[in-house]
Amino acid sequence: MNSSSSNSGSSSSNSTNIGSKLLARYPFVEDAGNYLKLLDYRLEEFDDPTMSNVIDRATARVVAAMRGVVYDPYNVASVDEEVVSFILACIMVKASKVKALYRRFALSEARRAEVFLVDDFRMNTSGDEMGYILNNIFKGLFAIDVIYSHDHSTFMIKVEDYLKYSTNFHDEYWRLSNRILHKGYVHLNTKDMVRLIRDEIYALIIRRLERINVEYDNLPEALKKRVNALKSMMLEIDGLSSNNNVYVERRGYPPCIVNILKALEQGNNPSHTARVLLATYMLGIGKSVEEVCELFKNAPDYNERVTRYQVEHLAGLRGNRVRYSCPSCSKVESQGLCFKSDECNGIINPLQFGRRHGSSAGRNRMDMDVDEGVGSEVR
């Protein structure tokens, strides 16, 4: 079988060229920072008018992220321009101190990388290029040994590596029993192989952003202007303040709900089932559709239209007009979302948590029982 693996490496003499070419598409790999150092860029230099092109490109990357789209996926500029604009975009995002922007930027860049990876794998990339990607991204960044069969365009990864990432997905599609297993390897097509690590690329970019040590005051004027413009634009797009964590008073909520709220506050991407639990719980205690939608604003993949439709659907305002009840504790447990504490005190539905503790959440819930007569759903 004609195959290459992440162990095989790309030892040929043109590896530097391949590296440069691919670095333009995947600027988040460790080498990117080194590349910038090699080019000996200093921040002050970006006040030079000749640098406006690269600043424009960096700004466009951030704007695309704000709007929830993938930046220019069909047009890759020169290595210098791509890498420098990526680093500059990171610097501007960090200097904005808008946490929601960190997450949107990371997601947008991760999606861009996803497009390129699928493209590279499908376009019958040469063995050396494939070796570079497998070595520097899959193995180098995420410690996943991948074997690629050129004959069948199939990737093979160890079962334990697959499970490490797939268990974060809650869709049946990713269940191990829906996969081809052979001799300890899971066989994957290109799209799935890349999707499996997209969240890891996202997390990596977030880490890279957090490590950047830059203050707004130390930025050259050209960048300061852009950062201010980006902050205003973010306000306009989201209607959020610059320190815009949607903070939710968590007291009185059961631990399963607190955990999802925390995840959203930290910009993590809760699973679909976690989102359903949060929405049905909040609707159950009497929150309005608007209030529930607001909770999801920090999600990196937030889309107002989709969120509103789904919350309205759960509230029984759309589709089959059935109002969905909050799942029982046993269901929550089976979904791996239960973080039971002593305070849960034997409840069988998260909605009962408030009742037993007399919190504001609970009081709302009791009021609603009387008003809407839906108390039976928790029995």
């Binding site: 069948h152 365009s153 029993s177 081809i180 297993l181």
Partner: protein, 432 residues
Amino acid sequence: MIDGKREGNDKSNSTLATMRAYSINLLNQAFKEYYFKHTEMVEAPDAIQEREFGYSRFDGTMIRHLSMRDRNELIALLIMNVPADVYCSAAYYTSPTRPMEEKGLKAADLIFDIDVKELKPRCSSIHDIHLCEECLKPIDDTSSICECGSRRINHVTMPCDECISLGKREVKKLAEMLEDDFGVDKDNIKVYFSGNYGFHVYVKGRYTMLDSAARSEVVNYLLGRGVADAIRKRYGKMLREVMKGNRSGNGDWKGRGRRRESRSRRSVNRDDKDEKDDDYHSDVITTSHGYDESLAADGGYGWIGRIVRYLCSNDVSMSMKSIEDAILALSARVDPNVTIDMHRIFRLPGTLNSKSSLAKVPLPRLSDIDSFNPLIDACLISDREVDVYVIDAPRFTLKGNSFGPYTHEEVKLPLYAASYLICKGIAYAKRK
């Protein structure tokens, strides 16, 4: 003297208590003798200092959160305490003696439990008995209440060769999937008779780092959970057409299965490019879905390949029903909770099971499974004769000797048979 049929009604509670005390005493002697004579049977786990140990006494008390420095300390504990049951964690901990949340889980052996009772053997209605614990009368297996009004029913399983074979069949399926699908080397699969009514299968090596969620996925895979749904979603339309007669079943799956099977055999022997022949691609289920592409590319590995081969070899026509039946027949019916719970403690290999007095013993090799007979190989209590009063026992075989049936009678039995019945709760020792 215990008077047969009137025993349940006539015996005073104190007499019964005395006989129970005699029985515990006899078991204590039998177990002590075993641990003195057969210390070599006790398997100390690897990384013994990182394991949690626990044991129960014959009075039912349980002691957990123990740790052992070495095998000698473990053997000393067995001889000094003569436990009814001894357990060891599947997990490796930083501090095994601390409370659960402070132990510091490092990893855990991947262990599967095959409980024959859960396989619902048909022969169980012949040999299993159900006794009222109050009046000691047998009751119907469907009743949950005795005519004396008691709800304390002792359901006694008396495994026969047929039951054991059922368990072995599941072990074989499990081992095959572990080897073929999960790539576990034969040497890293260790099979144990549980000491009563099932098997424990230990997997050492690469899978010890899996977390609970990942173990749950492994179990679902082995049980074939979700496979039928996945097939229904992907091939439902084609299946409906076949069932309506609009499409030939033989020309599709069955033919494909046979071709794949032969290719699969070829590919084992020849790893060459000739595999990429025209036929190889002609029967690809052409969807944009990678699963199907992989299926075609890989010669029918995994669940779908297994199902197709099963349907072909049994010459079964294709339908969702036949696919569901195939999944049931091919799945390894392991207890999911046992594998998923990484903190669980398991009976220590080489120790006795207080539900039977048989030992938890390893199969020397996986290939020995057919010749392994736990009713001989795990029966290691001595042969000296003792007097027992048997309430009710069907005919049973141990160490190649047949005993019974007995109904409310006093008999002389070798210690291994006597302790077997006492552990099952259907006999009492007659003397101290």
